[in-house]
């Protein structure tokens, strides 16, 4: 059974075609990153999955159960939030969670305390939500999403507003849940945070899926990564790079040498440096494969990945770096 299946989803807001024929499938335990520039339709897609907005076309199945037109099926087993989580400001964080537990028919007793501790809010649980910071509200939203032990978790920018510790904790949590068989769909702009968490990615642009595949496939297909390179002789290294096919070199803003190189190109380039007697002192990842994929796919141009040559893509990765 797929945790999530969506076929041909379309949503139009007045003149905007927010989602335009999206297919999505997730097996249990998969962590999938949903990527796309602002306005790509990520939130709208999640809203449709939650039954908050009515798709103009298409079909949705959550945990094997179809989400039908009148949205009369309660979202048993599906948790999460879209955009920033919202709560009743006149109630405390704890009261809000208790209220949602009550709606779910869950005994709030121990669960609420456990979750408050888990998202590091137990110290402020008795305060009214109106006095919470953005990050605290985000933490409360994560606690609310976990309240009924979901088997499918849909999270819209879960780390937005979180401090680095909190963001890392979310990543750990997601991996932990995935190990237990929970399917997690994560939408985010913070690519770095997705990189080590996701098993698969879906890229959206203008409401369409422009790339969909596993993390491994992405690493193989990613146009180019960019690195800062510190060598014993940067000028020679730059000259070698210029001569090497599939490698682009330039200077980073702080004067260091930056090279953009596709997945296969790095081996040859480093060997060439060695043969020329240039020692590599440090190689730092500047633009990851995922980022370069994101830049490539979300560029203003309508061209698809395959229409752009590796050269062009490397150029772009470097430009963004």
């Amino acid at each position: 059974m797929q945790a999530l299946r969506a076929r041909g989803l379309v949503k139009r807001y007045e003149s905007t075609l927010a989602v335009d024929g999206v297919d999505l499938a997730m097996p249990a335990g998969e962590v999938r990153g949903l990527l796309g520039p602002n306005g790509a339709g990520k939130t709208t897609l999640l809203r449709m999955l939650f039954g908050l907005v009515r798709p103009d076309d298409g079909a949705i199945e959550l945990l094997g159960r179809p989400l039908n037109a009148p949205f009369s099926i309660p979202l048993e087993g599906t948790g999460g939030f879209v955009e920033e989580p919202c709560f009743y400001p006149y109630l405390s964080g704890r009261a809000n969670l208790e209220l949602l537990a009550q709606l779910d028919g869950v005994d709030p007793g121990a669960v609420v305390d456990e979750l408050l501790a888990r998202v590091d809010l137990h110290g402020r649980a008795a305060d009214r939500v109106s006095g919470y910071s953005t990050g605290m509200r985000q933490r409360l939203g994560i606690a609310a999403a976990l309240l009924r032990s979901p088997r499918l978790l849909l999270l819209d920018e879960p780390t937005s507003g979180l401090d680095p510790v909190g963001a890392r904790a979310v990543a750990e949590l997601v991996r932990e849940l995935s190990a237990q068989g929970v399917a997690v769909l994560l939408s985010s702009h913070l690519i770095g945070e997705l990189e080590n968490v996701c098993d698969a990615y879906t890229f959206l642009r203008h409401g369409r899926v422009v790339w969909d595949g596993s993390a491994d496939r992405l690493a193989a297909e990613a146009p180019a990564s960019a690195f800062t390179l510190h060598t014993s002789d940067d000028d020679r290294a730059a000259a070698i790079a210029a001569a090497h096919r599939g490698v682009r070199a330039g200077r980073s803003p702080r004067g260091a040498l930056a090279v953009a190189v596709g997945p296969e190109g790095l081996d040859g380039f480093s060997l060439a440096l060695g043969q020329a007697g240039v020692a590599i002192r440090r190689l730092e990842l500047l633009v990851s494969p995922l980022e370069s994929m994101f830049f490539a796919l979300t560029a203003d141009t309508e061209a698809t990945l395959h229409e752009l040559g590796p050269h062009e893509l490397a150029e772009r990765a470097l430009a963004k770096a």
Binding site: T44, G77, F87, A95, I142
Partner: protein, 448 residues
């Protein structure tokens, strides 16, 4: 976020029945409402308001004589809840319905919490039903609170004396208490109709301000429309028409139930229509987030106001439709036995032995001032009383003029200049000052 994850294989959500889900929504809604300051204030006002009203009347001598049975607030504790009810029906209950329920749905828009509650284990239908149930339950509780508080205030601060009914006859304390409580019960459908209307406004406009003041605006429009028009149709079809229905029960000369049955039916129809419309809106709605909030500008409120003004204008124009409710014949037929009744009451109070079924020979003559004699407004009734004169053949005719203001629901207040029948108070047989039952006479007749 370090504690071990809970085991997801254990389904935390029991497969609850749909009524169970509605019950859960109801419970959360109850919790939210009781946590809100406005709800607590309303409960305090409903509880303390009647006591404050009775207390103020106790320390000052004035009477709210324009309200039905208002002159009797010092002489029977049971007049207090009825005056409170008349006020509550015109203003109080619509206001309470607006404050309690007019923001119940729009607040979810304001706080952005629709998405929070709609992504839990309950459907839209269950959520709607649970919220509606909470609204109705809280309103019913507040009406009960006002009823109990005003009866207690009356009985404790004024006393449990017999009450002069709308036909001029005395109603025993036990009977009066039952009628008072029944009157509050009869108003309940109208209260719930206003509640449903508040819910509809809240859902339709997604604007708490319109939801909260909408019902009181409807009440205001009702007050205005009740001043005009001679037809019964529009008046009977107003949301709050059942607020007048209790008067038929307290009419001692001849109780009537027609308007009561019709207006309760009208209330139920309002409830059904408002709830159905609100549900349709919630059911078909997209919860598409903050863009909606951004779009709330002046367009929606202006459109709402325009629609409301058009509806009020149309209603005002339509008030003449249908059978005429207030006619000369009906007023005359009501005034004559009532005048007879209050005259007997006055004689009893003074201490004269009058057989309880004694009748005077009265020929009333009513006409509307400066207009054709139909419809609500200011009337004049001349009661020609023919008193037997001992030793003579002819009767002595003594005319008593009453200024009668008749409301469109068929209730009237008749007041006579003191020259004819004495002042507002008079000494009774034991020399105590009592209300002169002839000075101001309240009555009602069936307009259907």
């Amino acid at each position: 976020m370090s504690a071990a994850a809970r085991h997801p294989d254990v389904p935390a959500t029991a497969t609850a029945s749909p009524t169970g889900a509605v019950g859960r929504v109801f419970a959360t809604e109850r919790r939210k409402l009781t946590a809100q300051l406005s709800t607590r204030l309303l409960a305090v006002v409903c509880l303390a308001g009647p006591f404050a009203f009775a207390g103020i009347l106790k320390v000052q001598s004035g009477t709210p004589s324009d309200s039905l049975l208002g002159v009797y607030v010092h002489s029977s504790g049971f007049a207090i809840p009825l005056v409170v009810l008349a006020f509550a029906g015109s203003w109080g209950f619509p206001l309470v319905a607006g404050v309690l329920c007019g923001d119940m749905f729009s607040s979810e828009d304001r706080y952005g919490t629709w998405k929070t509650v709609l992504t839990r284990s309950c459907t839209r239908g269950e959520l709607f039903a649970g919220k509606l149930l909470a609204a109705m339950t809280f309103m019913t509780a507040l009406v009960a609170l006002v009823a109990v508080a005003s009866v207690l205030a009356g009985v404790l601060l004024v006393g449990g004396q017999s009450l002069v009914g709308l036909g001029g006859a005395l109603i025993s304390p036990g009977h009066a208490l039952a009628l008072v409580l029944l009157s509050f019960l009869i108003c309940l459908p109208a209260v719930l109709a206003y509640t449903s209307l508040a819910v509809l406004l809240s859902v339709a406009t997604r604007n708490g301000i319109i939801g909260v003041i909408g019902p009181i605006m409807v009440a205001l429009a009702t007050q205005l429309i009740d001043l005009i028009g001679k037809g019964v149709i529009v008046h009977m079809l107003m949301v709050g028409s059942a607020f007048n229905a209790w008067t038929g029960l307290l009419t001692t000369t001849r109780p009537f139930f027609g308007p009561l049955i019709v207006s309760i039916g009208v209330s139920l129809a309002w409830i059904a229509a408002s709830v159905a419309a609100a549900w349709r809106l919630v059911r078909s709605r997209d919860f598409a987030g903050t863009a909606v909030g951004a779009r709330v500008g002046w367009v929606a409120p202006v459109r709402t106001v325009a629609i409301v003004v058009a509806v009020i204008a149309a209603l005002a124009l339509a008030t003449d439709l249908g059978p005429v409710g207030i006619t000369r014949a009906r007023l005359t037929a009501s005034m004559a036995p009532e005048f007879n009744q209050v005259t007997l009451l006055q004689q009893q109070l003074i201490g004269r032995a009058v057989p309880p079924d004694a009748t005077f020979y009265i020929k009333p003559n009513c006409f509307k001032r400066a207009a054709v004699s139909v419809g609500p407004g200011d009337w004049t009734c001349t009661m020609n009383v023919f008193l037997p004169r001992p030793g003579r053949v002819a009767f002595e005719r003594s005319p008593v003029d009453y200024d009668v203001s008749v409301a469109s629901n068929g209730c009237y207040k008749a007041q006579s200049p003191p020259a004819f029948i004495g002042g507002q108070t008079m000494p009774d047989a034991r020399g105590r000052s009592v209300v002169n039952p002839l000075y101001i006479v309240y009555g009602c007749f069936n307009v259907l």
